[in-house]
């Protein structure tokens, strides 16, 4: 009996802990990111973006304090879902945001939406949320997965690439990248190689590239794949003859690593993105130096830029509702209007709540001894909306 009581007491105590977040003088923002495992290099950049936005808002909106609650999903959809449930039920957040990876977002978004919360993806651009699965309370402050590779495809046309060799890891995002790229690229695709996710040695692919003699190689190798692939590309001597293009493989998060390892063959390589650190907008001019000051002197990656906009978007919604967090319709209307200065200029949302925006070509340059991505010329895609937007019945 005593034993049972000893076991039961702490459980009862846990159940009876009153919610620590009962008062609504605070806007609580739950942020679900990948903050451990090698993939955390992206999540940590994003986290810093949220923190800079909080600083620029002065920690307040419409007279209410903003509280950021970060959770680590450990790069696992199931843990991500648990963390979302914790944020929604225990922390009683008003907004659920973050999400770097599409498959983790897909598992988590329903948790927030079913509880009537606003869900804002600050990176993951799973195509289904722009189309059939769009939702009145779902927003995306980044892009839809196929848009960026579509911009790369257009950039390759402009660069005069006629024969292209494509490499991507064999999973959902890898396939969506190839779908987007081949939608706009007009030349011939010699090979679409889907490599195993565990692959770290590309020797057989590099031999095949050499034999195929394309005008360009396109890769989608984010995170830990990139450094290994780019190293081997140079070791095989291919960088001298075949230019390398990418989507989401070289950015502010990994450029410091490439520079430290002196991978000079990456200087001059191109990718495309909706944003660049030197994009000439008033908000970007405030954001970039503040981020560098906040985060190890590094340039922000787009992960941070989108996170910054996600919190600014939330603030715009709360401001429009004059701080009344129970007035969901007013908040939603405010977010749709997005009356704030985004790092990309003004955000214009489609009815699926994905931005309609420009995409730019970017090149790796060495500016004052620090490697960074610099915008090249005018937008390659102008006012571009996700291709499947029409499938959204909102």
């Amino acid at each position: 009996m005593l034993k049972k009581f000893i076991l039961a007491a702490p459980i009862a105590a846990m159940l009876s802990v009153p919610s620590v977040h009962a008062n609504d003088d605070t806007v609580r923002v739950g942020i679900n990111l990948t903050l451990s495992t090698p993939a955390s290099i992206l999540g940590l950049n994003s986290k810093a973006g949220f923190e800079v936005a909080l600083k620029h808002l002065g920690g307040k909106v419409a007279g209410k304090k903003i509280e950021l609650i970060f959770e680590d999903n450990q790069f696992k959809p199931a843990i991500g879902k648990q963390k979302s449930e914790k944020l929604v039920k225990k922390d009683k957040v008003h907004f659920l945001t973050g999400f770097i990876f599409s498959h983790i977002l897909a598992a988590s978004a329903p948790v927030g939406l079913k509880a009537g919360k606003f869900v804002i993806s600050s990176n993951a651009g799973h195509s289904m949320f722009a189309g059939k699965k769009c939702h009145k309370n779902f927003f995306n402050s980044a892009w839809e997965n196929t848009q960026t590779p579509m911009a790369v495809g257009q950039m390759l046309n402009n660069e005069g690439v006629k024969k292209l060799y494509i490499l991507a890891p064999n999973y959902a995002a890898g396939k969506q990248m190839i779908t987007g790229l081949t939608r706009t690229f007009k030349g011939k695709v010699v090979t679409k190689a889907l490599t195993p996710m565990s692959q770290r040695d590309w020797s057989s692919d590099l031999s095949k590239i050499k034999a195929a003699k394309p005008d360009g190689v396109f890769v989608f190798y984010p995170g830990a794949w990139g450094p290994a692939f780019f190293t081997q590309y140079a070791q095989a001597g291919l960088h001298k003859t075949i230019p390398l293009y990418n989507a989401f493989s070289i950015d502010g998060a990994n450029l410091p690593i490439f520079q430290k390892r002196n991978m000079t063959h990456l200087l001059g390589t191109m990718n495309a993105n909706f944003w660049a650190p030197d994009l000439d907008t008033p908000a970007n001019k405030r954001f970039v130096p503040a981020f560098k000051k906040h985060y190890k002197g590094q340039f922000p990656a787009h992960y941070a830029a989108q996170a910054y906009d996600a919190l600014m978007l939330i603030a715009a919604g709360v401001r429009a509702a004059k701080g009344d967090l129970s007035n969901k319709d007013a908040i939603r209307k405010g977010m749709e209007e997005a009356d704030f200065e985004s790092v990309r200029g003004k955000i214009k949302f489609g009815k699926n709540h994905f931005p309609i925006q420009n995409f730019y070509a970017r090149k790796v340059v060495n500016k004052n001894g620090q490697w960074q991505l610099s915008k090249v010329g005018d937008a390659v895609l102008k006012n571009h909306a996700p291709t499947n937007s029409a499938e959204c019945k909102l």
Partner: protein, 307 residues
């Protein structure tokens, strides 16, 4: 058929085989002699990679850094054996799997904290960057030739150690009949410690020589571990010779499959279907090989005598 590509892919497959052998040799000894299922063998591979990268950066010399790595691996292996694994010999395989799996998680996160999410790496000195032209228009990166030669040298040394020395005799005896060796008054505990240390050095050597190519990242050992288990099962658990032949076979089949299966499929399928099926089938090939070998020879190609 493009013979230059074929020859280059053969070379690539051989190099993968050499690397697999280095990891599998230690695994097969530890499993075969000590009857220990060591899932953390891939962690030792990761240790080798990070130690080598750190030493190379500190000494600013590839050769010195790599020379320092090997004794460090021996010490690491011995510490792990004395501290953790020694307590597991009397337990059943499930306990061993659980404990060594715990080691994997612990060290992956520890390395992440120490070296950061971006990992680390080794930059090759300029004399090793570049490609060599072989007869017939075949060109291969210089450093991959270094891997093959050094891997073959280690294999030769291991062969001499196992077949020509007293320690080697004990190792072979241990693989064949563990109880008899200890009944004959051999200090089996010491032998186990040495075997584990040797396995750690071999795995560390593999992680070390591949780091200039793949870079070092937390969790890098797990993919290698699975292939190494396939290799030792094909080769016969406890057999160094079996591990060598099975490793080369696995390396060649894996590389050749990935290079040519989509082309082969395209001859009778449309290209979209072949592009989808190609990666799926090629990643299955080594497991199919394992299944076939197990069906014909259940204890592997070269099981140690008496086992």
């Amino acid at each position: 058929m493009d013979y230059v590509l074929l020859a280059e892919q053969f070379f690539n497959g051989f190099q993968l085989g050499i690397l697999l052998f280095l990891v599998a040799a230690g695994l097969t000894l530890i499993f075969g002699i000590m009857d220990l299922v060591n899932l953390a063998h891939g962690t030792l591979y990761m240790f080798g990679a990070f130690f080598a990268a750190t030493f190379v950066q500190l000494t600013d010399s590839l050769v010195f850094g790599m020379i320092l790595t090997l004794p460090t691996m021996l010490v690491t292996g011995i510490i792990l054996e004395l501290g953790v694994l020694r307590t597991l010999y009397e337990r059943d395989h499930l306990d061993q799997v659980l404990a060594t799996f715990g080691l994997i998680i612990f060290f992956n996160e520890l390395f992440l904290i120490v070296w950061g999410a971006g990992g680390t790496g080794i930059n090759l000195p300029s004399y090793l960057i570049g490609t060599s032209e072989l007869p017939g228009g075949i060109s291969v990166p210089d450093y991959r030739i270094v891997i093959i030669i050094s891997g073959l040298l280690v294999a030769l040394l291991l062969y001499l150690l196992v077949s020509k020395t007293r320690i080697g005799m004990l190792i072979r005896a241990g693989a064949s009949n563990r109880e008899m060796v200890s009944a004959l008054g051999i200090n089996i505990k010491l032998l186990f410690t040495l075997v584990f240390g040797l396995g750690a050095v071999l795995a560390g050597f593999a992680g070390m020589i591949i780091t200039p190519i793949t870079q070092a990242e937390s969790g890098m050992g797990e993919g290698m571990l699975i292939l190494a288990f396939v290799v030792i099962v094909i080769g016969g658990i406890g057999s160094i010779k079996g591990a060598f032949i099975a490793a080369i076979l696995t390396g060649l089949i894996d590389t050749m499959g990935r290079s040519f299966i989509d082309v082969a499929l395209m001859s009778f399928m449309d290209s979209v279907a072949a592009e989808t099926a190609g990666p799926a089938i090629s990643s299955m090939l080594v497991y199919i090989l394992m299944a076939v070998v197990l069906a014909i020879k259940p204890s592997g190609l070269f099981p140690p005598k008496g086992a």
